[in-house]
């Protein structure tokens, strides 16, 4: 495994008085609320150890107030950790200062702020240019780049409008364009799409994924939209009361939530977008070999009380399907299975999302066959399997 681009080790941020006392109580197992009652200090983030791999999208979700924003603000050192350390490419940067800090922020990380953080005295263009301006990029170049980004977030024509005349979603897109214009290694995005309508949001998600694919950006993404989290995230971290309670790939979390809290969290997810054919396929109860006779097929169907059975070759390569009718027909007319084989069956790749299978399954007469790269049958997806995957 490569060195993660960003890692945290025991990262902790306590707000307010007596952070050390708060740390001590937390170590003794008190929870955030108890500490708050006792000391009046708020635990923003406590003991977070994460690894974020280069080129991946790392999504953070969690309850309101659970410390997501605090965590990403620690990552660009807008906040200094109370304890623990932050590593960039394996190097401890918790104490980065002066020129180094500035260079880090200029070239390595850019942030989209939850509350936008736009500059009221500059127009849209001025805001989007800002990061390049402080880097010292030549005026024409930065304006070009900014215009491109403004176009990308759909605000062409608004370049010279003052920020105060923009709608909420437009402001958010300016913040987005500003971070993107900077072209950093790591994009820290704190609920960057929360004020966007579904259409623009889809566009933006698409652009973001595009950028990431093309230029291998690392993205740290906070969202409350669990579908978005699972759609964009290579890794998902779930926070609660300042701690990270779970990390994993979307499928891991979905198929094994682990506890009630996480289950509640992912309840509203559109599972069909996350789960893949391979996650829901079942091993067929019975299979018939191409070399078997119709009687074998009939017996298999009877004993499993099913009305059709898949037929495979010697290497488990899918040949077709036989139905009860056609098997009886074959027996009556002494035909081989091959003769009555229904070859017009629907096959799919194991990595197809369920969402794509739903319309197919709805129309399919037989279960859908999941086949591997060499045409080998891996499993089948029935209507029932699709349906039960959705809950």
């Amino acid at each position: 495994m490569n060195t993660p681009i960003i890692s945290t080790r025991g990262l902790t941020k306590i707000f307010g008085y007596s952070p050390q006392a708060a740390m001590k109580f937390m170590r003794e197992g008190m929870d955030k609320n108890a500490v708050f009652k006792k000391l009046g200090s708020t635990v923003g983030v406590y003991d977070v150890s994460l690894d974020i791999q280069r080129g991946r999208t790392f999504v953070i979700i969690g309850l309101s107030g659970s410390g997501k924003s605090t965590l990403v603000r620690l990552m660009n050192l807008l906040l200094r950790p109370t304890a623990g350390s932050l590593l960039y490419e394996g190097e401890d940067i918790s104490d980065l200062k002066g020129r180094n800090l500035i260079e880090y922020r200029r070239n390595k990380v850019s942030m989209v702020f939850q509350s936008f953080g736009l500059m009221g005295h500059k127009d849209v263009l001025g805001n989007v240019c800002y990061g390049l301006e402080v880097k010292g990029v030549r005026k024409d170049l930065r304006v070009d780049r900014a215009m491109e980004m403004i176009g990308m977030v759909g605000l062409s024509g608004w370049e010279h409008q003052p920020i105060s005349s923009l709608s909420g979603g437009m402001k958010q897109r300016v913040g987005l364009a500003r971070a993107l214009a900077n072209d950093p290694e790591v994009l820290l995005m704190d609920e960057p799409f929360s004020a966007l309508d579904p259409i623009v949001r889809r566009d933006m998600q698409f652009e973001l994924l595009g950028i990431q694919k093309k230029v291998k950006k690392t993205i740290v993404f906070i969202t409350h939209d669990i579908n978005e989290a699972f759609k964009l995230g290579d890794q998902v971290a779930i926070m609660k009361d300042g701690k990270v309670v779970r990390t994993g790939t979307p499928e891991e979390i979905l198929s094994n939530p682990g506890d009630e809290y996480i289950e509640q969290f992912v309840k509203d997810i559109d599972r069909s977008k996350v789960l893949l054919a391979k996650n829901v396929m079942i091993t067929p109860a019975s299979l018939v070999k191409l070399s078997d006779g119709p009687n074998v097929a009939l017996k298999e169907m009877k004993s499993n009380s099913i009305s059709s059975v898949f037929v495979v070759g010697d290497n488990m390569d899918l040949a077709g399907i036989v139905t009860l009718d056609s098997a009886m027909n074959a027996r009556s007319n002494n035909l081989s299975i091959d003769d009555v084989l229904e070859k017009d069956i629907i096959i799919t790749d194991p990595n197809t999302p369920i969402a794509d299978l739903i319309p197919i399954a709805a129309r399919a007469r037989f279960p859908i066959a999941v086949v591997g790269p060499v045409g080998n049958l891996l499993g089948i997806v029935t209507k029932a399997a699709v349906l039960s995957s959705l809950t």
């Binding site: 660009n76 500035i102 880090y104 200029r106 850019s110 953080g117 500059m119 005295h121 990061g131 402080v134």
Partner: protein, 266 residues
Amino acid sequence: MSRAWAPLFSVIGDVLLGFVNSIQSVVSLIPWWVMLGIVFLLGWRLTKRARQGMMYASMLFIVGLLGLWELMTITLGLVLASVLISLIIGLPIGILVAGSGRAESVVKPLLDAMQTMPTFVYLIPAVMFFGLGKVPGVIATTIYAVPPVIRLTCHGIRQVDKEVVEAALSFGSTKAQVLFKVQIPLALPTIMTGVNQTLMMAMAMVVTCAMIGVKGLGYEVIIGINRLEIGRGLKSGIAIVILAVLLDRLTQGWFKADEKLKERNE
């Protein structure tokens, strides 16, 4: 002591004198009708209203009608010089103080002292070092006029929204960039209030300056007062007020001109 320091003081004195003299000579070289024209044009361009320009020009014309034109140019030169020096000193200090609690705790009592220590208490020593005339005049005016711009620059910068500053920092702005690209532009209205007050304070010192031998409108005021000719004092007083109002409107207009554009939306 005064002997030992004399060379230093005389250098300071010469520099200040040269500065004031050059400003005054430029000002006095401008014929009155050109000056009226400039004021009209500036007023028009800055407020985008020709009527405003007309008004400013006619206010200046009144000074001429009062027969105080020449004295006015002298005063204008001195005030301009003092205000410029005040801004050159005051803005950086205000910025510095905004960024450092320690600097503030040193500077604040100093500012208090500069504003409340009776002028003559330090003017007399100044006169002893620099002689009577423009140099101690400019020094005293600056001492008295510089605190507001320092205070309000500091206050304005500190009032800038923390979030915006954070955003600027997050893009790797240096301290100077945050300052010049974010904090100062956002603090500008407050800073300009400070500039306005500095100007007013400088104008308020015109009479005090006349008391240490600086010619100009203040001199007329003193004559008026000493002779109990209230009309005469009032006339020059009005000229001083007019000068103050014009200088204020033009400096304020200068900085507001581009802000206006931004506010055209409701």
